[in-house]
């Protein structure tokens, strides 16, 4: 009898197959929902292709004042730079529907990203909101950290200062940094979830 061995990627895909349009759940400790989205350069990115890597998902809307706080202060670009240098795949995700705040042409996204000094690995486009809904993304920013085995280890707010003030970046407890540092060192994540804050995702 031939025994079929699933590759890790296929196993991930099989474990996290939501029905089309259904709302899956992004549960801490469980496999993160699968996705496949184009980026602003037309390349497609799937979670499965990043098996074996740490992945950060960052829900973004450049016109939201909470996102502005983290970009105008340089906080988000600095995190992106620091962790992509450590091999983390950092994916910005835009689930703004056409006509709603945060929905831009690819040219505008690229130009705004450059002016912020953004250092994400790719900026993914989810105008139908399918992936946002699969992850239960509520705010911009809303952050997720996924392990190389495809499990969700952090979901929630970027830090503990739910304001739009740039001055609140310094001194805030950054939950994403903490989760990445702990998880990448093989330690349990002390705070696997925290209240996400920001503008609503513009589905």
């Amino acid at each position: 009898m031939k025994i079929l061995t699933l590759t890790r990627a296929a196993a991930l895909a099989a474990l996290s197959l939501p029905a089309v349009g259904a709302r899956a759940d992004a549960v801490i400790g469980s496999p993160a929902p699968a996705f496949s989205l184009p980026d602003t350069a037309g390349r497609t990115h799937s979670l499965s292709q990043y098996a074996g890597k740490w992945v950060v998902l960052e829900w973004v809307n450049y016109d939201c004042p909470f996102v502005g706080k983290h970009y105008n202060s340089g906080n988000m670009p600095a995190l992106q730079k620091e962790y992509t240098a450590k091999g983390v795949v950092w994916l910005a995700v835009n689930s703004s529907a056409p006509g709603k705040q945060g929905h831009f042409t690819n040219d505008v996204i690229q130009s705004r990203s450059r002016s912020y000094g953004a250092a994400h690995s790719a900026y993914l486009l989810d105008p139908a909101g399918t992936v946002g809904r699969a992850y239960g993304a509520k705010t911009t920013p809303h952050m997720y950290v996924i392990s190389p085995e495809g499990r969700l280890v952090y979901a929630g707010g970027i830090d503990d200062r739910a304001t739009t003030d740039l001055a609140d970046v310094q001194g805030a407890k950054n939950y994403v940094r903490a989760a990445l540092d702990e998880a990448m060192a093989g330690k349990p994540v002390t705070t696997p979830t925290a209240t996400p804050y920001g503008c609503s995702v513009k589905y």
């Binding site: 509520k138 304001t163 209240t195 609503s200």
Partner: protein
């Protein structure tokens, strides 16, 4: 000096009359929200708590948020600068409303929100005038969100003597309206909470007058329930149960689950403060 007793008596006279409440910058705002700081009293007395109102008026379609803003947004915040010895209570919030937009919901206010704070002067109050300064920050949203900030202040004279503080008749309607919008406390209300799978269940026993369908629960703590999901309300004998979908990755609720219960009947909107006790699960 000869002039001193005259000055002192002039001051005493104005104190007896109640004196003007100076509104320095008591009103400010943005394009969509005006904010105003209003005192209920004309003068203050040592150790006697009095109430001030922060009134937010929102342009049509714009809203501000409750202490738990729901899925997004930011609650209105006040940072007080008070004279030595003065204390300010936490903000007292009017009953919120829920606005659902697809998968997401917010808890907050449209048109107007009057937040109350109780201020307690110290036990010793030299005669003079006392300035209460408030740095207010809020988030006003419609389809987009704009952060708002204002610095407001009020100056109140100290009135000599004992007895209750003089109420300002001009601000009375505002405070009547504010208190009517506040959730009330009722000894008749007995609420327990339990987690049953992916549902958070409230069991309400004891029916204070006016409590009835439609009924809605607003938890004080974010991240407990899915705010956009409908709450299943059912009669249970003389009481009610409310079944709510827990939020993904929700922690178990605290032993005392605090929030506001709102009856949104056609004639009146009534609200009660709730502190639900943990009940043993039925499973």
């Amino acid at each position: 000096m000869k002039s001193l007793p005259v000055l002192a008596s002039l001051f005493l006279f104005s104190g007896l009359l109640g004196g003007p409440v100076e509104a320095g910058d008591a009103s400010s705002g943005s394009a969509n929200v005006t904010v105003r700081l209003v005192s209920e009293v004309l003068s203050i007395r040592p150790g006697k708590t009095f109430t001030v109102a922060l009134q937010l008026k929102m342009a049509p379609s714009w809203h501000t948020y409750w202490k738990n803003p729901g899925d997004s947004g930011m609650p209105t915040r006040v940072v007080w600068t008070l004279p030595d010895g003065f204390k300010a209570s936490e903000l007292q919030w009017p009953a919120p409303a829920r606005a659902v937009d697809g998968d997401l919901a917010l808890y907050g206010y449209e048109r107007e929100a009057i937040l109350l704070t109780e201020i307690t002067p110290g036990p010793d109050l030299p005669s003079g005038r006392f300035t209460l300064a408030a740095k207010v920050s809020w988030l006003e949203c419609r389809d987009i969100c704009i952060p708002g900030k204002a610095s407001l202040d009020l100056t109140l004279p100290a009135a000599p003597g004992r007895g209750p503080a003089a109420i300002d008749p001009a601000s009375k309607p505002l405070f009547v309206s504010a208190r009517a919008s506040m959730p009330r406390r009722s000894g008749a209300l007995k609420v327990s909470h339990a987690v049953e799978g992916d549902r958070l269940i409230l069991r309400i026993a004891g029916s204070p007058p006016g409590l009835g369908s439609p009924l809605e629960f607003f938890p004080e703590t974010p991240g407990l329930i899915e705010a956009a999901q409908p709450q299943a309300v059912a009669r249970a004998g003389a009481g009610w149960t409310i079944s709510m979908k827990r939020a993904t990755n929700a922690s178990p609720p605290a032993a005392a689950l605090r929030g506001v219960l709102v009856t949104n009947s056609s004639s009146r909107r009534l609200a009660w403060e709730v502190s639900a006790v943990a009940a043993p699960s039925s499973h």
